[in-house]
């Protein structure tokens, strides 16, 4: 057995002519935290629902710890826990009853850890589910998954509805899980969260995996942001090799440089530079650079 927690081979999902997920080949190592990023409709939830067998893939296969997750769903699900982005539970049960039921069905729970999570997330288990706010219902999802100490945690926008304090509690819990050797597959919209928690990032666009790597690896794929302030008139750098997105605000020039920065520095040096800032792109800028207007997905687009 290898050390792969999730392996997808050509995993595909079509709805008629619409390709919700193009053939996806992905491996998540055991103990790794993989961030799965993409805008609405990119295919993140489709990927997760196909992995979990809630929808039937059009093609390809999924292995969870080497188990064919389509043919042996129950065996695969014994090794994992899932946090969906939307929480819908039986309204007549209390939070405690819901956690009890979900724990019994999963088959293994760490009750001491469950109690600790209830305190950490300031969850009131005696209330009936129908009285909970969205954030409190989401806490049930989070506690129910984490209390199993499952080998693999699959999360689909898990902090949806949580306040910033609870988001911190969630991050702490994920870090505990990874310290414990658990694998995490984290689909998220919150780029800061993904940057803070994930070992690697996979970026999905229009159903296709477009980037996969560590944050530093991905940064090399994108442009460096440069801001230069001049005492006088700023030089024209639009024709300099690798320079794009040139904006001039007063005496300050903003631009991005793909590849070597040397030609730009040479051009800037010809003028009187009083201040020069250069920095790597944030995950947000990386993300945005991958999604121009032209990438907004249209349903009819194949």
């Amino acid at each position: 057995m290898d050390d792969v927690a999730i392996r997808t081979k050509g995993l595909t999902k079509h709805y008629g002519n619409f390709v919700a997920l193009a053939p996806l080949d992905l491996e998540v190592k055991q103990g790794e935290v993989l961030g799965y990023l993409g805008p609405n409709g990119a295919g993140k939830t489709t990927t997760i629902r196909a992995m979990l067998g809630l929808i039937k893939p059009t093609g390809g296969q999924v292995e969870i710890f080497g188990i064919n997750a389509q043919a042996h769903k129950v065996a695969a699900h014994k090794r994992l826990a899932y946090i969906p982005g939307e929480a819908t539970f039986w309204p007549s049960l209390t939070g405690a009853e819901t956690l009890h039921l979900l724990g019994k069905i999963h088959g293994q729970i760490d009750t001491a850890y469950r109690d600790e999570l209830i305190k950490r997330f300031q969850f009131e288990p005696a209330k009936k589910v129908r009285t909970y706010s969205k954030g409190n219902r989401q806490k049930i999802n989070i506690i129910a998954a984490l209390m199993t100490r499952a080998d693999l945690l699959i999360m689909d926008e898990p902090t949806s509805g949580l306040d910033p304090i609870m988001e911190q509690a969630f991050r702490q819990s994920v870090m505990e899980a990874t310290d414990n050797g658990q694998t995490v597959f984290l689909s998220s919209h919150i780029l800061e969260e993904a940057a803070a928690l994930c070992d690697r990032l996979a970026i999905l666009r229009a159903g296709k995996l477009v980037e996969l790597g560590t944050l530093s690896q991905l940064r090399h794929l994108s442009a460096t942001t440069v801001e230069a302030t001049f005492s006088g008139k700023a030089p024209n750098v639009t024709k300099v090799a690798g320079v794009t997105s040139v904006h001039l605000i007063g005496h300050t020039l903003h631009c991005q440089v793909q590849g070597s920065i040397k030609p730009l520095l040479a051009e800037l040096a010809k003028s009187d530079v009083v201040k020069l800032l250069s920095r790597e792109p944030s995950l947000e800028e990386l993300f945005l650079s991958l999604y121009g207007d032209s990438d907004i997905r249209k349903p009819e687009a194949g």
Binding site: K56, V74, A75, F89, A96, H106, A126, K128, R130
Partner: protein, 554 residues
């Protein structure tokens, strides 16, 4: 795009036809409910046509009509079902007597489902919150919803009135347009009253299921009061129960429009209360508030099957109690109904030949009708059980189980198993209820006969369950529509087949056509086995497809 063009393109366009935002909810509800109103109005039309035309064809002379009318008099079993007969020796009287109560019941049940769905159901789903965020208030939104539902009732009335007027013009029937319009008004009164009942119940109860339960309980009480008024010495009850007021209208015969006053008054009072309470309570709350917290009770919360038993148990129990009470009530009426039927049968020279079983013959005939109604109720339970399975998938509850080590087939088979158990218990309760009701009446019907008749109730319900599971697998969003649609179709064919000369191809599509009227006739076990077998086959196909397909949330 230039700035000017952009501005022009993004400028909100005003609809040339003025439509007030104050009525948007009413228009939306009306549009959404009009289709089912047209459907039920068409059913009413076909029902009335079949009874009136069938009566004229079967009994063309006044003498024959008087003779057959005599068989309906003083039969309290039939009166409990259809109300007191008035002028049943005439086409108009027979038509009203044989259809009005049934239409009031169908309309009432449809209306209370519609009202609780559009009030508490929308609130449960969180959509009410979106509406209230618009240019409206809770009271205005409630009034709008009532207006929208009122529009559905208006559609029900207009289509029914047109069809009744057309039927009235058929040769030999001969009731005028004015009389037809009043008859249609009487026919939709049950629906109108229970729209208001459902709307108020939605303000009182915290969930749609409970609002529907309260409305159904009120409906059951009204039916029981009307049946008691028609069959016992407490005749005054007819004047204080909503279904009794409808009977008192006596359309087409001794028209009594004065009874529209209490009907209208009830609708007005309940609607006003609904609007008042809607503005008085917080969104998501109810007048009879449920406790927000509860002591943890983990009983039965161990597996998908036991959890389903706990979560669906109260609803199943309500069905069983209703089925048991109905069986007991009709059991109590067996002797009187049997005596009336025996008089009819003696006219056909049967008594002379079968004197020693005369009492039993009338009793079994009446109980045959009772068991037919019980079969319909048990089939309705089967449809509701499969509807609940679909609801679990649509609402996302099922996701909670299937992302854990639970297979789809295990979940589905567990739910089907529970439904089958309830169906079997319902059949047994039908036997026990009627037996307990008629035990001291010496009707001559043995427990063994009733037990066989009880077993005879199972096959149609199992077929409905199979059809429902098939629909759940193949076309999940239509599961409830298909399951209840088959029952509605079967009931419709059963209601109209006596009046219309339907081809056997049409009759064959009715489930009840293939079921013996036990205990009036010996159960057709072969036919029952085929029905159950078809149900099983459809269920297996449905389960296999369900195991393979995508889950489809709402």
């Amino acid at each position: 795009m230039s700035t000017a063009n952009l501005a022009a393109a993004t400028k909100p366009t005003l609809n040339k036809r003025f439509r007030s935002p104050q009525t948007v909810i009413a228009r939306f509800i009306a549009k959404r409910t009009a289709g089912s109103a047209v459907f039920w109005a068409a059913v009413f039309g076909v029902f009335v046509a079949s009874k009136s035309i069938g009566f004229v064809k079967a009994y063309p002379t006044a003498h024959e009509q008087a003779a057959v009318a005599a068989t309906f008099l003083n039969n309290i079993g039939i009166e409990a079902l259809l109300g007191k007969p008035h002028h049943v020796a005439t086409v108009a009287g027979f038509t009203v007597w044989s259809t009005l109560c049934v239409m009031s019941m169908i309309g009432g049940i449809w209306a209370l489902m519609l009202a609780t769905r559009n009030f508490r159901g929308e609130e449960d789903a969180g959509r009410w919150e979106l509406l209230l965020a618009g240019q409206t208030t809770a009271r205005r939104a409630a009034a709008n919803t009532l207006v929208g539902l009122g529009a559905a009732i208006a559609v029900l009335y207009v289509v029914s009135a047109i069809t009744f007027a057309i039927v009235g013009r058929v040769h030999g029937i001969g009731f005028g347009t004015g009389a037809a319009l009043f008859f249609a008004l009487a026919a939709i009164c049950g629906a109108a009253q229970f729209i208001a009942v459902g709307a108020l119940a939605s303000q009182l109860m915290p969930t749609r299921a409970r609002a529907a339960g309260l409305s159904a309980a009120i409906f059951g009480a009204c039916f029981l009061a009307r049946a008691m008024a028609d069959t016992t010495s407490v005749h005054w009850l007819i004047n204080v129960t909503p279904l009794g007021w409808i009977e008192n209208l006596q359309p087409l015969t001794d028209t009594q429009p004065i009874w529209l006053l209490p009907i209208g008054g009830l609708i007005f009072v309940l609607s006003a209360l609904t609007i008042f309470l809607a503005g008085r309570r917080d969104l998501g709350e109810s007048i009879f508030a449920d406790t927000d917290s509860a002591k943890t009770r983990t009983g039965l919360l161990r597996s998908p099957l036991t959890a389903a038993l706990r979560l669906t148990g109260p609803t199943s129990l309500s069905w069983l109690v209703g089925i048991g009470i109905a069986a007991f009530f009709y059991g109590l009426l067996t002797k009187s109904a049997a005596q009336a039927l025996n008089q009819t049968l003696s006219a056909e020279h049967i008594i002379n030949q079968l004197a020693h079983v005369s009492q039993s013959l009338g009793a079994t005939t009446f109980l045959g009708i009772v068991f037919l109604l019980q079969i319909t109720m048990i089939m309705a339970y089967a449809a509701s059980a499969v509807g609940r399975m679909r609801e679990d998938e649509a609402e996302g509850y099922l996701d909670n189980l299937l992302v854990r080590p639970v297979s789809r087939l295990r979940w589905l088979l567990g739910r089907v198993f529970l439904a089958v158990v309830v169906i079997v218990v319902a059949g047994l309760l039908t036997t026990l209820g009627t037996w307990a009701g008629e035990i001291n009446q010496q009707t001559g019907v043995s427990f063994h006969t009733l037990l066989l008749a009880g077993i005879n109730t199972l096959a149609p319900a199992l077929l409905i369950l199979g059809i429902g599971v098939f629909a759940l697998g193949i076309t999940p969003r239509l599961t409830t529509v298909i399951a209840y649609g088959v029952i509605a179709w079967t009931f419709l064919i059963e209601m109209v087949s006596s009046g219309l000369n339907l081809s056997h191809w049409v009759l064959d599509t009715s489930i009840l056509y293939h079921v013996a009227l036990a205990p009036a006739a010996n159960p057709k076990w072969g036919s029952d086995a085929v029905l159950a077998g078809i149900g099983l086959a459809l269920g297996v196909i449905g389960a296999l497809v369900f195991n393979y397909r995508d889950l489809e949330p709402e």
